[in-house]
Amino acid sequence: AEKQKLEDGSELINKDQFIFATSGEFKPFSYINDDLTMSGFDIEVGEAIAKEMGLEPVQKRIKFKGIVEGVKTGRADAAVASHTINPQRSKHVSFSTPYYYSGPKIFTRPDSKIRTVEDLKGKEVAVAKGSTYADTASKYTDKIKTYDSDITALKALSSGRHDAVITDFVTGKTAEKEGFEIKGQQLINRSEQAVVLPQDNPQLLKRVNESLEQLRENGTLTQISIKYFGEDITKKPE
Amino acid sequence: MDTKEMIKIKQLNKSFGDLHVLKNIDMTVYESDVVCLIGSSGSGKSTLLRCLNFLERKDNGNIIIEGNEVNPRTDDLNKIREKVGMVFQNFNLFPHKTVLENIIEAPIMVKGVDKEKAIIKAKQLLKKVGLEDKSDVYPSKLSGGQKQRVAIARALAMEPDIMLFDEPTSALDPELVGEVLTTMKDLAEEGMTMVVVTHEMGFAREVADWIVYMHDGKIIERGTPEQFFNHPKEERTREFLTATMLK
């Protein structure tokens, strides 16, 4: 697929636009509104980056597991979709600097005996397809079930299926608040989330990183984080 | 007469929607009688036969089988049907069963006869209808005449007291009619009570004890073959006979 080349060597699908992909099924990071547009933390970050680069932000909804493929094949210029940086993905796409810090957490039903990763041995763990949590889970058990979205996995857990779900702690916490019968257990580790870009577009990567730096410094990222989570998750935890 | 009344029908009526098909039918059939029902197409012959076997439900009137009035709502019709065998124009053999299986099906499943006894009986019946060599054959391999003889054997296997035949030879090629009529004649000679709807005037004249002529849902005339064919009383009957003989 042919993209339009800009003066600085970066390439965009449409030279005035920054088309960024998100799933829309990862509340509160991304979710859809009544007019089928999306809102959420990821969306506002994506829009802020676009504006910082002087481009018109255009959101694009792709199922989570199709996003990397979509960025690779040029259906979007980038993805601002809570992708965790990991070496596997790095072979196929480029990552920006992290724009927030989170971590996979174990979720179970309230009455579960599972507390820590050690307890997962031989248990059935559900995760979202295309997420890094499958890798995480596979370190502790070989019974892994995959769904298209984290929420569906949590819903299955809540309705009595599987033994645990590994997902982002913020997402899990939100579901818990929404009345799912689940409970957060161990925070497995910390992870860094970043913007995903195609590998053959180093100039664009550079511009995105510059913009993120700018947004970090002028407090925009912090401001967006507070708005959605009441805390700042964009600072690297000590 | 002192013979037993096998079937007695009183003031039987039957309609399909607006169509009044049977109108105040009265009829008695005594033991060992052979009654031939004749009449033009649509006159109600099949419907009458089917009412006797309760495949059709009467509107009103009485049907008394071997002295017991039958009430279709409360009586066990299947028990009564065991007494009354029926042979259809289209044979209605079970195509997924062999000749033997066709015959033993009902005795085993309905009467609870045990399988060996049923088979012995079936083989006797097959011999009687001249088909002892066909017991393991499927119906599709039989000629029409053979099929109808199997159907007769199948009905006889339930040891009925009465046999009803609805145009048993109408679906047959002319050269196959004879073998079926012969079987029926044998049956009549053994004393079976029979009601036969037929267009075979030769058979009616030779075998029937009584001829009943129906027209437009009513019984117009009845009599011995001699009376009926040679001295018909009604104008309608004469017309019918002329038309039939001309063919």
Binding site: L36, G66, T73 | -
Partner: protein, 221 residues
């Protein structure tokens, strides 16, 4: 199971979004059927061309489509097409569905063409018409008429199949339902709502198809 009042409340609340999504579902269906008819016609003609290699091509196409699940086809075509040239999403999804429909429609049309009496073809030829002209003016109009009922049926199938376009990010009914469902942590209610939309659409289409069929029968010549 959600309570009825909850269900009804959300049904009313979301009618705007779902109406938009329904339009997209209909667009996808109509476009994919129309393109599918063109594709189907081409492959039906290949199949009856009496040229071995063309028949083979048509056979292989039909075999591949009938031999694999639609969802696999949609994914392959969506990513496969993207690898070659970048169609807008809507067209990529429509094309994927159309290629699927095309195989079934080609079978429908081939059957309809072959059901037209051979004498019609000979009558055309005997009047000096070329093969193509006879096909175009005499055979195809009759074939299409016969194909209408099964095409209507295919339309309804396709309406339901378009739900799988959800997985290639079309905001059609099913996608909107699952997304809203997961946004609101209430999948069941939204699924039931979308089921109602599909039932209505299918009932409507069935009605239209039956009416058309009846009309054709009445005015049948």
């Amino acid at each position: 199971m959600p309570s009825f009042s909850h269900f009804f409340h959300i049904l009313m609340d979301t009618k705007g979004v779902f109406f938009k999504a329904m339009l997209l579902t209909l667009e996808l269906t109509v476009v994919s059927i129309l393109i599918g008819i063109v594709i189907g016609l081409v492959f039906a003609l290949l199949k009856i061309s009496n040229i071995k290699i063309l028949e083979l091509i048509s056979d292989i196409y039909v075999y591949l489509v009938r031999g694999t699940p639609l969802i696999v086809q949609i994914f392959i075509l969506y990513f496969g097409i993207s690898g070659i040239f970048l169609l807008p999403d809507f067209w990529a999804a429509s094309l994927a569905l159309a290629l699927h429909n095309g195989a079934y429609i080609s079978e429908i049309l081939r059957g309809a063409i072959q059901s037209v009496d051979k004498g019609q073809f000979e009558a055309g030829r005997s009047l000096g018409m070329t093969k193509t002209l006879t096909l175009r003016r005499i055979i195809l109009p009759q074939a299409f008429r016969r194909a209408l009922p099964p095409l209507g049926n295919q339309f309804i199938i396709s309406l339901k199949d378009s739900s799988l376009a959800a997985f290639i990010s079309m905001n059609e009914l099913f996608n909107v339902a699952t997304t809203l469902g997961s946004n609101n942590f209430d999948e069941m209610t939204y699924l039931l709502i979308v089921a109602v939309y599909y039932l209505l659409l299918v009932a409507l289409m069935t009605f239209v198809v039956n009416r058309t069929e009846q009309k054709l029968t009445v005015s049948d010549r």
